[in-house]
């Protein structure tokens, strides 16, 4: 009997490979017509080098540890062609430049002061210090192709355009029939609770946000560069390799609205009332005046899901939660792409027990 992974996002697919490496037969069930189409593609495309989490040293350190693994495994999907600058805001930032330096030193993340011409891009009234860092972006199209190839090589069974309806002991009901399953892994990210509720299991506390990533054409001076202003209500401009353009996200404007699930799934959110790209561009100009020459092309909207405590400490732990009511059903969720390397140790813990 095979293991079944529900959700063909990056997490589900990488989990399927990890199970396969342990000798299990695996089927991946995906609702969309292809893999990695939803949250795995609709995000900042940042391969975290740890710099982003000065308020959660554990998350920063895990990113640091997992970063080289991701590069080693999916290096061909990474865009390294740009220089990335982190700017520490002078006001309203949760960390000072000195604290950021100490944090990077502690987690072993390379950091160097930005050259004078780059410092000159920023308003010195609002930015305390600018650093050049080592952080890249992934190309979601290349990642999809690489994952597809790895799954084929590993002979993982794929069932695309198949909607999982509910899990029961030893089987998964889908809109295309019933799959026999030894274990079921619920890797449906923002829909984790829908499957749990449909299966008669208790929901997990989750926080969702409807987010907007604005795709922009950067000003000529910023081509080939990424800029991230930390650590608070600021913004990030980064190459978005899959669409050969740049993404602009803003801590204040990217989440349009948020909601929490406690005891029952909340259902799909209402559509956003409009784009907030103008807000993001206007605020970015205050810190980086050249952004007045940036042009908004279009936006992508997606539901982002985190554990409720992450709202406060900005951490991104993975969720790995065996279901109490339904033995063999495990809910798995990662807040960011390189978190996937935290999975094997959880599998080590789970599998001897299940066997």
């Amino acid at each position: 009997m095979a293991d079944v992974v529900i959700g063909g996002g990056f997490f589900g697919c990488r989990l399927a490979l990890a199970l396969r490496e342990r000798g299990e037969r695996v089927t991946v069930v995906e609702r969309e017509a292809d893999l990695l189409l939803r949250a795995s593609a609709n995000n900042q495309a940042r391969v975290h080098g740890g710099y982003h989490y000065p308020r959660s040293i554990l998350t920063g350190l895990r990113s640091r540890v997992n970063y080289p693994r991701f590069v080693a495994e999916f290096g061909s999907c990474i865009d390294r062609s740009f220089r990335h600058y982190y700017a520490v805001a002078r006001r309203q930032s949760h960390v000072t430049a000195r604290q950021f330096e100490l944090f990077c030193q502690r987690i072993g993340a390379r950091l160097s002061p930005a050259p004078a011409d780059v410092r000159g891009w920023f308003d010195p009234e609002l930015i305390e210090k600018v650093y050049e860092v080592e952080e890249h972006a992934f190309d979601a199209h290349l990642l999809r192709a690489a994952v597809r190839e790895r799954l084929q090589e590993a002979r993982v069974d794929l069932q695309l355009a198949t909607r999982a309806l509910r899990a029961a002991p030893g089987e998964l009901h889908t809109d295309r029939g019933v799959l026999r399953a030894r274990r079921i892994f619920n890797c449906t990210y923002s829909s984790v609770n829908e499957l749990l509720a449909a299966s008669g299991a208790r929901c997990l506390p989750l926080r969702h946000e409807l987010t907007e990533v604005a795709l922009v054409e950067p000003p000529p001076a910023l081509r080939g560069c990424a800029v991230t202003v930390i650590c608070g209500p600021f913004f990030s401009l980064m190459p978005f390799p899959a669409q050969k353009t740049y993404s602009l996200t803003h801590v204040r404007y990217t989440p349009h609205f948020a909601w929490e699930e406690r005891t029952a799934p909340a259902g799909p959110p209402p559509p956003p009332s409009g784009s907030r790209a103008a807000h993001m561009l206007k605020d970015a100009q205050r810190y980086l005046p050249a952004m007045s020459m940036a042009r908004h092309l279009r936006s992508i909207f997606e539901v982002k899901t985190v554990l409720p405590q992450s709202e406060h400490d900005d951490s991104r732990p993975i969720l790995f939660k065996p279901c109490a009511e339904l033995p063999g059903l495990v809910s798995v969720m990662g807040g960011k792409i390189d978190n996937v390397y935290d999975l094997p140790r959880e599998l080590d813990f789970l599998l001897p027990e299940a066997a």
Binding site: R252, S273, A278, H279, K282, D283, Q285, R286
Partner: protein
């Protein structure tokens, strides 16, 4: 004047113990801004209120879109509060107004005049001596 403009308009408003009128203020501002502009924001600067204004605004944040709350660590006075708001505002044009007595309906006129003349614009209430009839303002009397 009634056409929706692409201009980004920020409204900065200082709140000092204004718990009771902040809801009607937001209702009026939102009505006017939504009717005239695609992109706008309301920046409320809480200048050390001690009457629960902050809690009231936080409740209202869930109902009104495009509102930001800046909290000063204590009461600094009008000048500092407005300066903090101006420093944080992101609009092409910023309108500052008194929560208590300035009529939001004049915002489009102020903005239009400022753009046309490329100048800072301020409004003056007509003098009572010249036979001025009090409008529905100030807000506290409504």
């Amino acid at each position: 004047m009634s056409a929706v403009s692409a201009l980004f308009v920020s409204v900065v408003c200082r709140l000092h113990d204004e718990r009771g009128l902040v809801e009607s203020l937001l209702e009026d501002l939102t009505r006017v801004l939504r009717a005239h502009y695609d992109n706008w924001e309301i920046v409320l600067v809480d200048d050390g209120s001690r009457d629960g204004t902050t809690a009231r605004v936080k409740e209202l944040l869930g109902r009104f879109e495009g509102v930001r709350l800046l909290r000063l660590s204590r009461a600094f006075g009008l000048d500092v509060a407005i300066t903090a708001g101006l420093e944080s505002a992101i609009g092409d044009v910023v309108v500052t107004l008194s929560a208590e007595s300035d009529p939001p309906d004049l915002i489009p006129q102020l903005v239009e005049l400022s753009r046309r003349e490329n100048a800072a614009v301020y409004g003056v209430a007509p003098s009572r001596r010249r036979g001025w009839e009090p409008p529905a303002w100030p807000r506290r009397l409504r």
